[in-house]
């Protein structure tokens, strides 16, 4: 029977939640790196026992940890993230130029075709790559040095590159998203990039349909259809059917279209999930009810999913990298909250249960489906 391993990054350490394919009985191991912020933990698709963790601290900086035994033991990898050349400036909150400064790694994306290659999305926004198992990191500086780079501005959470998607059918094509610059695409493995924000409208910027400046919160694809992108923007659920050339809004009947996470069912490319959040100034569910919304039509028509989720006095948030799906026949959906709960649905969202109740605030959730 298959096994499930859920990799959870929190404000105070990493946790590994394990169960068999029934997904009923869970064991929790951790905290790993207790007391540190773990922005992301992710496994290699080529070697599921190879895990990577972004361990960070305002005090002691950035560490990258690697496990080669499924999270039982960890070794520090290289942690030198030096921008290529003289990094120059981007816009600061007050509109003045501000030097690019490395703060932390938000997202780790292991390569689909080489177990020693991994990408890191960092704050201040840039993409780094290691081809030697994490020992050394080099910036793919064509992104940061794009002609629009000097005009990018941080969102309130920092100017973070938080989403990295590799096209499973063409690994040289990748998508990234930056708050608050927008989405970008490369066709040459990261050497050159173009903004792909046409169709986005953001009331929070002076030119609402500008080429860059949009606060994209997360993007998800189904691996069989890499031209179809789903986006949770600051406000608005968006969809592109042409690899990001043009976006259209599919928020439809959602009660609020602000939020952070978005993900796609493992076997149904038109079934997508979001967790609506009240507003950009009130980062908690509407009416104190934690509800996942599912669309089986790729957007516009949404159904609320509440069975097993708190429907009163719930004021947690679900952050951008804190939702994932497993690959079992009956697709499992997972998400973590800033209240320290991790919820699983083993029936594609129809019903939910908490598999962890009292972890530190959850920053990220990834799922591995193991033989």
């Amino acid at each position: 029977m298959s096994k499930i391993r859920v990799l959870v990054g929190t404000r105070k350490g990493a946790f590994v939640l394990s169960a068999d394919g029934k997904r009923d009985d869970w064991t929790i191991s951790g905290p790993f790196f207790g007391g540190w912020e773990i922005y992301h933990v992710k496994g290699s698709p080529l070697d599921p026992d190879r895990l990577w963790a972004s361990q960070t601290s305002l005090w002691f900086g950035q560490q990258i940890q690697r496990s080669d035994d499924g999270g039982k033991s960890w070794e520090p990898s290289g942690n030198k993230f030096a921008y290529d050349g003289v990094p120059g400036t981007h816009q600061w909150y007050d509109g003045t130029p501000h030097p690019w400064e490395f703060a932390r790694v938000w997202h780790l994306e292991p390569s689909l075709d080489d177990r020693d290659t991994i990408y890191a999305g960092v704050e201040d926004a840039a993409l780094f790559k290691s081809t030697d198992g994490g020992a050394n990191w080099s910036e793919l500086s064509g992104l940061r040095t794009h002609t629009t780079g000097s005009s990018w501005q941080p969102g309130a959470g920092g100017m973070c590159l938080h989403t990295v998607i590799i096209d499973p059918q063409n690994p040289k094509r990748m998508f990234v998203a930056i708050s608050a610059a927008g989405a970008f695409r490369t066709a040459d493995g990261g050497q050159t990039w173009e903004p792909i924000n046409k169709g986005l409208r953001s009331a929070q910027i002076p030119d609402q349909d500008a080429e860059v400046g949009h606060c994209v919160h997360h993007i998800a694809i189904h691996p069989t259809r890499p031209d179809v992108l789903f986006m949770q923007k600051h406000w608005d659920i968006m969809r592109s059917d042409d690899g990001g050339n043009l976006w259209r809004e599919v928020s439809g009947n959602l009660p609020t279209d602000f939020g952070f996470v978005i993900d796609v069912h493992a076997h149904e490319p038109e079934t997508i999930y979001v967790v609506p959040i009240k507003s950009d100034s009130e980062h908690y569910p509407l009416d104190g009810k934690l509800r996942v919304y599912r669309s089986r039509s790729g957007g516009n028509e949404w159904e609320e999913l509440t069975k097993g989720l708190p429907q009163s006095n719930c004021y947690v948030n679900v952050l951008r990298d804190a939702m994932a799906v497993d690959q079992l026949d009956k697709c499992g959906i997972y998400f973590g909250t800033t209240g320290g709960q991790v919820y699983v649905s083993s029936d594609a969202g129809d019903s939910w249960k908490a598999i962890a109740h009292d972890l530190p605030a959850v920053l990220s959730v990834e799922v591995q489906t193991l033989p």
Binding site: G35, W36, S57, L58, W59, F60, G61, Q62, Q63, P76, N79, K80, A82
Partner: protein, 98 residues
């Protein structure tokens, strides 16, 4: 021989308990102490000071002989009692709640 007291998180990273003792090939300064620490414990690179500029991280402090020497020149000699090993060199994480 220099005695160094690391904060708990850095002891975990370096996989040591208690004080660390290091030998220096040059005069004892905050810089030379950090150089020696990082050589012996590569996991500490970037955790006390910036990889490239070698500037002390903002929320890390250096204490010696009941004095905060964080703002002294990193190349200034540490007090003689630290250089002789009779007093430890403290690397401190700034106090914080949360």
């Amino acid at each position: 021989m220099i005695r160094v007291v690391l904060p708990a998180h850095l002891r975990t990273l370096a996989r040591v308990d208690g004080e660390v003792q290091i030998e220096l090939r040059t005069d004892a300064t905050p810089s030379s102490i950090c150089d020696a620490l990082e050589e012996r414990f590569p996991a500490l690179r970037g955790a006390i000071r910036d990889h490239v500029t070698h500037r002390r991280r903002a929320y890390v402090r250096f204490f010696a002989c009941e004095r905060d020497i964080s703002h002294d020149s990193p190349d200034a000699p540490v007090p003689a009692a630290v250089a002789s090993g009779s007093e430890p060199f403290f690397i401190i994480g700034a106090m914080s709640g949360g």
